[in-house]
């Protein structure tokens, strides 16, 4: 639990807040550092490895000034002594995790034996001149297999929070969301920013997409903020993939002049930074057509109806009187 690791170079460079993704912000990523491994399978909730029937999730820590160019860390660049990584599982239990090198990059691998959402946290603390910096990278991952049925889904949908965290972003659920739901272009995604478990009003929250788009909103009185996911996937039509997964990261920073929770009072302010990663997909409106669908359906209906009518008409033979020429 107390195992710590340091990301000093990354955190020091992140001191200056530019209003864009900082050069060395940290976030979790489900995208593999190399080409997809044959051991990875797609499931509801993203890629997983299945070992003896148990789902295992890989997540890698990334850093950089954009999602697309964000680099994976390697063990050589990480001094493991000044932070902690832990998992808040479906049952609400906190389990410490030890970072490793799954598929060649710095990250974690953990088992997901139960259905539901798992929250992964990395918390690191760093001091620099007059600022104490707390960096929290959070990932929320889902384990679901249709084999487990769907009766239990609604009871497990609510997002969970860790009240002891100084700053946390939670993704609020859409009204009819279930384990099969996904975020698409054009959808509104709502987040809530919490400071020690309480909504934080008036804070700036920024959403970054992998293509470099970003949008900053201010939290309302309940700490809530909503973003519409932008459509930023424009491949040639022959290369279009409806299951194309795009990553996003939501980031919030909150500075306080003095922090009663700080272990030391030698600093003038505490700077909290938190990230939450997620993914979204092309909208069905991008590739589904009602016009052609209804046209084809109506054509089939009309054509067969006319065909039956014609067939029946031809079957009705008119009476023909056969006359014999009596002279012959």
């Amino acid at each position: 639990m107390k195992r710590l690791c340091t990301f000093a170079p990354w955190l020091l460079a992140g001191l200056v807040w530019h209003g864009s993704l900082q050069a060395n912000s940290l976030w979790w990523s489900e995208s593999m550092p190399h080409t997809e491994s044959s051991s990875t399978q797609h499931a509801h909730g993203g890629p997983v490895e299945i070992r003896r029937g148990i789902y295992h999730k890989n997540l890698w820590l990334r850093t950089g000034d954009s999602l697309a160019k964000g680099s994976y860390l390697d063990e050589a660049s990480v001094d493991t002594s000044n932070a902690k990584i832990f998992l808040l599982d479906v049952k609400g239990e906190i389990k410490p995790l030890v970072a490793g090198k799954p598929h060649g990059a710095f990250g974690v691998n953990f088992a997901m034996p139960d259905e539901g959402f798992y929250n992964l946290y990395l918390i690191s603390e760093q001091f620099s001149e007059s600022t104490r910096m707390i960096n929290i990278a959070k990932a929320e991952v889902l384990k679901h297999s249709c084999r487990e049925g769907h009766d239990h889904v609604q009871a497990l949908m609510s997002p969970r929070q860790h009240d002891e965290l100084p700053l946390e972003i939670i993704r609020l659920r859409a009204p009819a969301e279930n384990f099969h739901s996904a975020t698409h272009f054009g959808d509104n995604v709502q987040f809530q920013l919490l400071h020690h478990g309480q909504p934080l009003a008036g804070a700036s929250v920024t959403l970054y997409t992998a293509q470099g788009w970003r949008n900053t909103m201010e939290t309302d009185a309940n700490g809530k903020v909503s973003f519409m996911m932008i459509r930023d996937y424009y491949p040639p039509w022959s290369e279009f993939k409806r299951r194309h997964r795009q990553d996003y990261v939501v980031q919030a920073v909150h500075n306080v002049p003095a922090d009663e929770h700080a272990a030391t009072s030698a600093y003038q302010q505490t700077r909290y930074e938190t990230t939450l990663n997620g993914s979204y997909y092309p909208s069905t409106r991008d590739y589904r057509s009602y016009g052609y669908g209804l046209l084809l359906g109506t054509f089939a209906l009309s054509f067969t109806a006319v065909a039956v009518y014609v067939y029946r008409r031809r079957g009705q033979q008119r009476f023909k009187e056969v006359r014999f020429d009596e002279d012959n």
């Binding site: 399978q41 299945i50 003896r52 029937g53 249709c146 084999r147 049925g149 769907h150 009766d151 009819a176 279009f240 993939k241 409806r242 092309p282 069905t284 590739y287 589904r288 057509s289 009602y290 052609y292 669908g293 209804l294 084809l296 359906g297 109506t298 054509f299 089939a300 209906l301 009309s302 054509f303 067969t304 109806a305 039956v308």
Partner: protein, 326 residues
């Protein structure tokens, strides 16, 4: 006991069936709104795509889904899940046998409603010749085989992933049933890949054909239904059975004439006791229209529950005449 038995044998089957079909239709189409979930192994078309209101899920959807997993998984521990699914499906099926088609299937009920509409409009229905009937009856086995082989091909990476549920893609239930809960999203062509474009196009063409076919031909789609084929393969140990006593049959042909599925054997076969054929939907109209006492009967676990009687036949005939006069 005898009074109850007489009352059941004299029942107005037409009305009884209408209300029972309506009950199952409401249960399977809108049960979800009342937190009813009968699971995903039902032996009838409770469409998975009717996400909002479904009270259960048709077994063909999870079956294709399970068979489409990578072959290495399917032939290891995941294979047990397929067997478990088949077992639950069989247990549901054994209770009602093919009466799931005649009384519970929402798509069958819609076809019966379309038939009632045609009847009211005074348009005559079509019948197949015996040659056509024999040819068409084979299609459902072909569809069942394809429905199993194509997902296996997907699992073996021989076919594209989009073909993972090939029968659902072309099944008219996917397009028609969600419309009853206000979901029209299945009436679309999916242009995201060539495979999905072809499959959704086929699905909508078949849906158009379904409406016309059901209008002119009673239970049009049931001739091609792979669920019906799967039912028949498992029907031997089922509890509900349709039986015939050939010694009491006078071969009047009433049972054949009222049969929506045009099963000739119901009239011609006098040696076999278990008369149910692969196309049978167990609507029991043949029993209701048989004038010979105990010539045809439905039994549950060997106990007769509905038998043909002269009294019941005459009573139903009178009601039928009154209905026609109205």
């Amino acid at each position: 006991m005898k009074t109850i038995k007489t009352a059941i044998n004299n029942i107005d089957l037409r009305r009884f069936r209408f209300w029972l079909q309506l009950f199952f239709f409401a249960l399977l189409m809108y049960g979800g709104y009342f937190a009813i979930d009968l699971g995903s192994r039902l032996p009838t078309f409770a469409c998975a795509f009717n996400e909002a209101g479904r009270g259960g899920i048709c077994y063909l959807f999870p079956l294709q889904h399970q068979l489409g997993v990578p072959s290495s998984r399917l032939f290891s521990w995941a294979g047990l899940a397929v067997l478990q699914g088949l077992l639950i499906f069989s247990l549901w099926f054994f209770a009602l046998n093919k009466a799931w088609c005649g009384y519970a299937c929402p798509l069958g009920t819609i076809q019966d409603w379309i038939t009632a509409l045609r009847n009211r409009l005074g348009i005559r229905y079509s019948r197949y010749s015996q040659g056509q009937f024999r040819q068409l009856s084979r299609i459902k086995y072909l569809l069942l085989a394809l429905m199993i082989l194509i997902p296996l091909g997907v699992g073996a990476a021989l076919l594209p992933h989009e073909m993972g549920t090939p029968f659902c893609d072309i099944c008219p239930a996917r397009m028609v049933l969600p419309m009853f809960t206000g979901d029209f999203s299945q009436l679309t062509i999916d242009f995201s890949s060539k495979t999905t474009m072809i499959m959704t196009t086929l699905g909508l063409l078949i849906t158009g054909l379904f409406f016309t076919g059901a209008f002119f031909k009673k239970r049009f789609f049931c001739f091609f239904c792979p669920m019906s084929a799967l039912h028949y393969l498992l029907s031997k140990p089922a509890l509900l059975k349709l039986k015939k006593d050939g010694n009491k049959c006078t071969s009047c042909g009433d049972c054949y004439r009222v049969c929506d599925m045009e099963i000739r054997e119901i009239a011609d076969e006098v040696n076999e006791t278990n008369i149910m054929q692969d196309d049978c939907i167990m609507c029991l109209k043949c029993v209701a229209h048989c004038p010979e006492p105990d010539a045809l009967k439905a039994t549950f676990a060997g106990i007769p529950i509905f038998s043909s009687t002269e009294q019941g036949f005459i009573k139903r005939m009178h009601k039928g005449q009154k209905h026609e006069q109205q």
